[in-house]
């Protein structure tokens, strides 16, 4: 579950499996450089159905399961019976369930995600404001962890069993077992608060210093400084998965005849690795990278909460404290939609990237 992308091992096994499946049923595929329109439509339809299911789950979760939203809303202050009834009518809670569901679907499709109890603002505008910071944090840490993970995985898989491989794998496994939020706390206390004689020098919270101007170069440097610790936390926890998958896919390529051919041609070891083994071993990794893109936006809840990074994760955490159900529902829908969208892109990109599937 993925604060982390929580379960690296089984997931990566699955990813490899998923990555291989399309290559196996390639006999059924017809030729063309681009995916066939029929294929596109099937995938698109599946994504739409997935989103519909998400809406049903979201509706059940937030509208049917809570005992009485009006009670939660008015918790802690005295309200008359008439007031309760008025609120129920205002929220549409007096209507039959199917009508409430249709209203909910209609609202969601029109971008109306409800009204936050805590912030007294529309959930849609709240989430839109928080999307940018989350994308910045997750995008940065994603790019760094992918590059770092793939590079380490390539090097350690190529020399499987070497000291470098053993150290890399052990470090990756250990960091994968660390609770993300705890790692964040430790980094925060060492580099921001300071331990003993060591003084912290990095900012403790937020995305920028409100006393500095909010535009221009100084602002961006300030944001970058605030970004260091949250991004580092995410990278340290996430990169292990890329190491694991890259390492195992490079090991699978090791015995391949085409590598022997490349060596026989007189290429250096580095050239064989980079020009011949890498492109083939990349495929499963690319699939997994795309699968992770989906969880990217939802992956930072704890990190954002620790560093008060003003993104969607922090918003979820704030909503959780109340609990502010419309806001939680809104972030849940945004998170789910992003996962479905990214999975769709992953599917399409994979078809395009794998020549065995593409040019039959």
């Amino acid at each position: 579950m993925s604060s982390r992308p929580a379960l690296a091992e089984p997931q990566s096994a699955e990813a490899t499996e998923a990555a291989k499946a399309p290559a196996q049923d390639r006999t059924e595929r017809r030729t063309s450089r681009l995916p066939r329109p029929g294929y596109l439509l099937t995938k698109l339809a599946a994504a739409v159905v997935s989103f519909a299911v998400t809406l049903v789950i979201g509706f059940v979760l937030f509208n049917l399961m809570p005992a009485d939203p009006v009670r939660t809303m008015t918790r802690g202050r005295p309200v008359s019976e008439a007031e309760l009834i008025r609120l129920r009518v205002q929220l549409g809670l007096d209507k039959p369930i199917w009508e409430r569901f249709l209203d909910f679907v209609n609202d969601t499709l029109h971008g109306n995600l409800g009204y936050s109890w805590e912030y007294q603002q529309s959930v849609a505008s709240l989430t839109m404001h928080r999307l940018g910071p989350t994308l910045l944090l997750m995008g940065t840490s994603f790019v760094i962890s992918v590059l770092l993970g793939l590079w380490l995985g390539l090097r350690s898989g190529w020399r499987a069993g070497s000291l470098f491989d053993r150290i890399t794998s052990a470090t990756a496994l250990t960091l994968w077992s660390v609770p993300t939020f705890w790692l964040g706390m430790i980094l925060l206390i060492v580099f921001s608060v300071g331990v003993g004689p060591f003084h912290g020098f990095l900012p403790t919270a937020g995305m920028s210093d409100p006393t500095l101007p909010q535009t221009g170069m100084t602002h961006w440097l300030d944001v970058a400084e605030h970004l260091v610790l949250p991004a580092l936390t995410m990278v340290l926890v996430v990169y292990a998965q890329y190491v694991t998958i890259m390492r195992s896919s490079i090991i699978e390529e090791l015995g391949s005849p085409y590598l022997l051919t490349a060596r026989a041609k007189g290429l250096t070891d580095a050239a064989v690795r980079r020009r011949h083994a890498l492109p083939n071993a990349l495929l499963p990794s690319v699939t997994m990278i795309f699968m992770h893109l989906g969880t990217l936006i939802s992956g930072a809840v704890t990190v954002e909460a620790i560093f008060s990074w003003p993104g969607l994760g922090d918003l979820t955490f704030e909503a959780l404290k109340i609990p502010d159900l419309p806001l939680l529902q809104g972030t849940f829908i945004v998170f789910s939609a992003s996962v479905i969208l990214m999975n769709l892109l992953a599917d399409l990109a994979y078809r395009f990237l794998d020549p065995r599937v593409r040019d039959q």
Partner: protein, 298 residues
């Protein structure tokens, strides 16, 4: 009690298999280390009530200094109510492990049932079940778990359910694939020819053969469940009256110990989680390695 021991019991040729398994397992030092850590933590968790009582855990009864650094009396210092961090840590292992194990049992039982049924009844039922599984895989698990736990209310019960709901899919997929492989083997056909019904094939033929895989995957599931439990409790979804590692970290971070620089309250629970998660993962991997026939040849 540990996965390794139960896995040996599930092997077909019982005692010879168990001995062979133990010998192969001893050849994996990381797995042995993991198992030793697990046994140590389990013994400590089970024995905790023998030397820790209410007077050391109840905030109204303790008389230690508040948020004091480690000393001879308090080897890991004290928390903001004056309780010994060491004792809290030991006591916390009980609830943390309990939630992790119960969530795993729920996950594995449900996931395996779905997997076996989906694998056994190919056709319509199987397709529907796998479709539902795919929908759940597409859901972002942490937000779903947070939402579920928030809707169900604070406490270990809702956390356990939230973990199970978000993690059964991996087991279901794995078990389905294995079920398909087992059902293709001749002995299943033989059982069917002799008149075995669907239920008998699933419970008598498929289940025993899928069991080793289920046990391996459940050690990895426990690792994930423990992390999820810590995360959800840390976010404030646990019962504040319980002592768990996640709850300790929640109090340490949001209760002022963090700003006071009280590292002795922050470091131990995290290290404990790390040690147990790593131990489960190492043990699981070692068992997986030993049971995998392809690995054995190398």
């Amino acid at each position: 009690m540990t996965a390794a021991q139960t896995a040996t019991a599930a092997l077909p040729t019982r005692f010879a298999g168990a001995r062979r398994f133990a010998r192969a397992f001893r050849g994996r030092p990381s797995g042995v280390a993991g198992l030793v850590i697990l046994i140590a933590f389990s013994v400590l968790a089970l024995a905790a009530p023998l030397f820790i009582g209410d007077e050391q855990l109840d905030v109204t009864k303790v008389d230690g200094p508040l948020l004091a650094p480690p000393s001879a009396d308090y080897p890991l210092g004290t928390d903001q109510s004056g309780r010994s961090v060491l004792l809290l840590l030991i006591w916390g292992s009980r609830e943390s492990l309990r939630i992790g194990v119960i969530a795993t049992v729920l996950t594995v039982v449900f996931g395996s049932a779905v997997g076996i049924i989906a694998g056994h009844y190919g056709g319509f039922v199987g397709r529907i079940l796998m479709q539902v599984t795919d929908w759940f895989i597409a859901l972002p698990s942490l937000p779903l778990a947070i939402s579920l736990a928030a809707v169900l209310g604070q406490g270990s019960m809702s956390i356990t359910i939230a973990i199970a709901v978000t993690s059964w899919t991996a087991t279901a997929r794995l078990v389905r694939a294995q079920t398909l492989a087992v059902e293709a083997r001749p002995f299943v056909e033989r059982a069917r020819a002799l008149g075995a019904g669907d239920r008998q094939i699933m419970t008598q033929q498929v289940l025993p053969n899928v069991m080793p895989l289920i046990l391996v995957s459940s050690t990895l599931t426990v690792a994930g469940s423990l992390l999820s439990e810590a995360t959800l409790t840390f976010l404030g979804l646990g019962n504040p009256a319980d002592v768990t590692w996640g709850e300790m970290l929640h109090e340490a971070f949001f209760g002022g110990a963090f700003t006071a620089g009280a590292w002795w309250f922050l470091v131990p629970p995290g290290l404990a989680i790390l040690a147990v998660v790593l131990a489960f993962t190492l043990t699981g991997r070692a068992v997986e390695y030993v049971l995998d026939p392809r690995m054995e040849k190398k």
